[in-house]
């Protein structure tokens, strides 16, 4: 092999390099061959929204439109969106924005198309009022239309409840906790006779977030002022969950970490705050636990929300009218119902939530619980949530605060102090 004359070998390298250069030149100049009048819409989502067949439907009725879907993971998608909005190019025609990020983008409404120009106001009545409102900027621009909601319930393990002497029937279980204090009290009861190594709930910050989602105003008041540090209800929420931790009810796992995933499998916790999309998650992570789960109402009576998204059209789009039209199509009642049947993502429109299709929906994995009814009721009950631009950062800070306590690095008091310091650092 090394007998090749060195000069010839370098000639080979040169040839390869040339080929490479020519190759790029060709690729770079090859534009995709489409019809001159075809409009190509890029739809950028995080995760599978279940829209495949809907795209086909739309393309059939609009033959000059081609839809290309792009999927990134949650964090990357939103970071990229921010980066592309900042640089003024590269954003897709339709961008999905999750509720955790929507406050940041309603703060810069001029980067998105105001969908009122395309008839959003007339459609307003379709949605749950609080859902619609989340995508409305302070000055009234509607920057996105809602897709699904992550309304809350509590998923619990019947078998573990039975072992600890708690009732297993879902109505009785729901009666155990009309309030969050009741939830913690039930937890205390559970821990008294719990199987070894099993805790009552998975993560302090998950329970806390569900609690805070029912408080209004929570971190921001109606005028947009940051009140997280001084709002007594926020502190009370913290104290309630810390009480649970002090009673050893907390498994101390971080949501979506590998430990948390394994926790589902090994039955490390008996309850978990469950938005509608969590059902699919549990089924994927722990298929062997089929039939051991059931679903009860969320404490506090006031519903709850974790997750849910919107579709927005950045002003960078060269096809704003068509993109807006597609957004309206993808979020209309028929589409939302279709998505619900495909993926279980709960519709964000009251008419659908009250419809038989949703109300009668049962999930065999969860002991045939009437999940449609439970989640719909929860969604319909939720009052308006006031979100501010640093909502996500405050949630990160509180999540870290719980972790510090769970990892025994700080006492609850000191961790709360640090949380206040973090909030100040991040949100001013």
């Amino acid at each position: 092999m090394s007998r090749i004359h060195p000069r010839r070998r370098w000639n080979v390298f040169a040839a390869v390099a040339m080929a490479g250069v020519i190759g790029i030149a060709l690729l770079a100049t090859t534009a995709s061959a489409t019809r001159a009048d075809t409009i190509t819409l890029r739809v950028s989502l995080f995760g599978d929204f279940g829209y495949h067949d809907l795209y086909q439907q739309y393309m059939r009725s609009h033959p000059n439109v081609e839809i290309k879907e792009e999927i990134q993971d949650y964090g990357t998608h939103h970071t990229q969106l921010a980066q592309r909005l900042a640089t003024g190019a590269g954003a897709a025609d339709i961008e999905a924005v999750e509720v955790g990020f929507i406050p940041q983008f309603t703060a810069i409404p001029t980067r998105f198309v105001d969908l009122r120009q395309y008839g959003a106001t007339a459609l307003k009545g379709r949605w749950l009022p609080w859902k619609y409102q989340q995508a409305v900027a302070r000055s009234g621009q509607v920057i996105g239309l809602g897709t699904d909601v992550g309304s809350l319930a509590i998923c619990y393990r019947k078998d573990l409840f039975a072992k600890a002497g708690l009732p297993t029937n879902r109505d009785q279980v729901s009666k155990l906790w009309p309030t969050w204090d009741g939830y913690i009290a039930a937890g205390k009861r559970f821990m008294a006779k719990a199987p070894k190594g099993v805790r009552f709930f998975d993560s302090g910050s998950n329970v806390y977030n569900a609690l805070v989602a029912q408080i209004s105003p929570a971190y921001y008041d109606a005028k947009g002022k940051l009140i997280a540090a001084t709002n007594p209800r926020v502190k009370a929420a913290w104290s309630t969950v810390i009480r649970g931790w002090q009673q050893h009810q907390d498994a101390g796992l971080s949501a979506f970490s590998t430990n948390w995933n394994t926790g589902f499998k090994t039955g490390k916790f008996a309850t978990v705050t469950c938005p509608a999309w969590m059902m699919g998650y549990i089924q994927g992570q722990a298929p062997a636990t089929k039939g051991k789960w059931d679903i009860a109402a969320v404490p506090g009576g006031a519903g709850g929300n974790w997750g849910g998204s919107f579709l927005a059209v950045p002003t960078q789009s060269k096809n704003q009218a068509v993109a807006a039209d597609l957004v309206k199509f993808l979020t209309n009642p028929a589409s939302q119902l279709y998505v619900f049947k495909q993926t279980g993502n709960l519709p964000s429109q009251p008419a659908l939530l009250k419809s038989a299709a949703v109300q009668d929906f049962k999930n065999p994995f969860f002991s045939n619980a009437p999940v449609g009814k439970i989640f719909a009721t929860s969604a319909l009950r939720l009052g308006p949530q006031i979100l501010g631009p640093h909502q996500g950062d405050i949630q990160n800070a509180v999540s870290a605060a719980f972790q510090r306590v769970e990892q025994k690095k700080q006492t609850p008091a000191k961790s709360w102090e640090q949380f206040l310091k973090d909030v100040k650092n991040v949100a001013g």
Binding site: F13, A17, Q72, D73, H77, R84, N261, Q285, G307
Partner: protein, 297 residues
């Protein structure tokens, strides 16, 4: 390096063999250590293959699975079927091959060129310029992507391959590596001899330096190829899943609330098959065949 210009010694063959064996041979302890290193280096790769061959629920098992399952071809099919996962994996593989290949060749050539200049040629300002080259490595890249992206917009290269190729055509890392290597491996005397014989600089480079730096060139080429293949930060912002490199495609697989690790690791497993192929085909040539340098005595 003064010991170089001596003529080739011709020792008695038997004596030579004995000395070589005393230095060069590897004892059992060496083999053991290297075996441990090889296993430790290879295990994560092996394990990602294991995960790729199972369904998604297996990854959360405890104790963890360590033996392959039966789902590998299923998962591979899923990766390539654009129905389920909306990513053009073949395009991604092709793009990455082009990008990594061009960058590797370019970096090796231009780094050797510049490294030779810094190492062996005398010119005004060479120290300052060398320090500048090294200094360019010091600024963290995370923020540079915004202004670089703006540049790409003006060049019209957003979502096009030149955007990921052009900024990497010559790297400070490569120049610095080559310079250090050439300093110690190409003896001044050899260059002087070539000059005396009437070679102009380009000829010296082509006929003296390039052959001498083959080991470093091979290593630099291979490392550059791999690092370009693995680069995800910049391609992720400037390319879209419509025209991806392999890492962009893999990160698309990792989307969704429920992370389908089996799918993701199948994607990464498929994405390194070309790398492994390059290894296997050129491995002997590049690594195993790293020759003793041009300097022999």
């Amino acid at each position: 390096m003064s010991a170089v210009a001596q003529p080739q010694p011709v020792p008695a063959p038997r004596r030579r063999r004995k000395i070589a064996r005393r230095f060069g041979s590897a004892g059992p302890l060496t083999y053991l250590f290297l075996l441990v290193v090889a296993v430790v280096s290879a295990f994560p790769l092996y394990w990602s293959f294991v995960v790729a061959s199972h369904d998604n629920a297996a990854i959360a098992e405890y104790p963890p699975v360590v033996t392959p399952g039966h789902h590998l071809f299923d998962n591979i099919r899923r990766v390539f079927s654009s129905g389920e996962v909306n990513v053009a994996f073949w395009t991604a593989l092709g793009n990455s091959a082009i990008v990594a290949g061009v960058v590797a060749v370019s970096v090796v050539f231009f780094s050797a060129l510049a490294g030779f200049a810094f190492a062996k040629l005398r010119f005004r300002g060479e120290t300052v310029l060398l320090v500048t080259v090294i200094a360019t490595m010091l600024v963290p890249v995370q923020l540079g992507i915004i202004p670089l992206y703006i540049e790409m917009i003006h060049l019209g290269w957003v979502n096009r391959l030149p955007a990921v190729i052009a900024p990497n055509l010559v790297t400070a890392f490569g120049v610095f590596l080559m310079r250090q290597y050439i300093v110690s491996s190409v003896p001044d005397d050899l260059i002087d001899a070539a000059r005396v014989d009437g070679c102009h600089t380009a000829r010296v480079f082509w006929h003296v330096v390039l052959p001498a730096v083959r080991p470093a060139a091979a290593v630099l080429g291979l490392l550059t190829f791999m690092m370009t293949w693995n680069d995800f930060f910049w391609p992720l912002i400037v390319l879209t899943p419509g025209n991806p490199t392999v890492q962009v495609a893999v990160s698309t697989l990792a989307s969704g609330y429920v992370e389908d690790y089996a799918l993701v690791l199948t994607g990464t497993f498929v994405s390194i098959l070309p790398l492994l192929a390059v290894f296997l085909v050129l491995g002997r040539q590049i690594i195993g065949g790293i020759m003793r340098g041009a300097v022999k005595g």
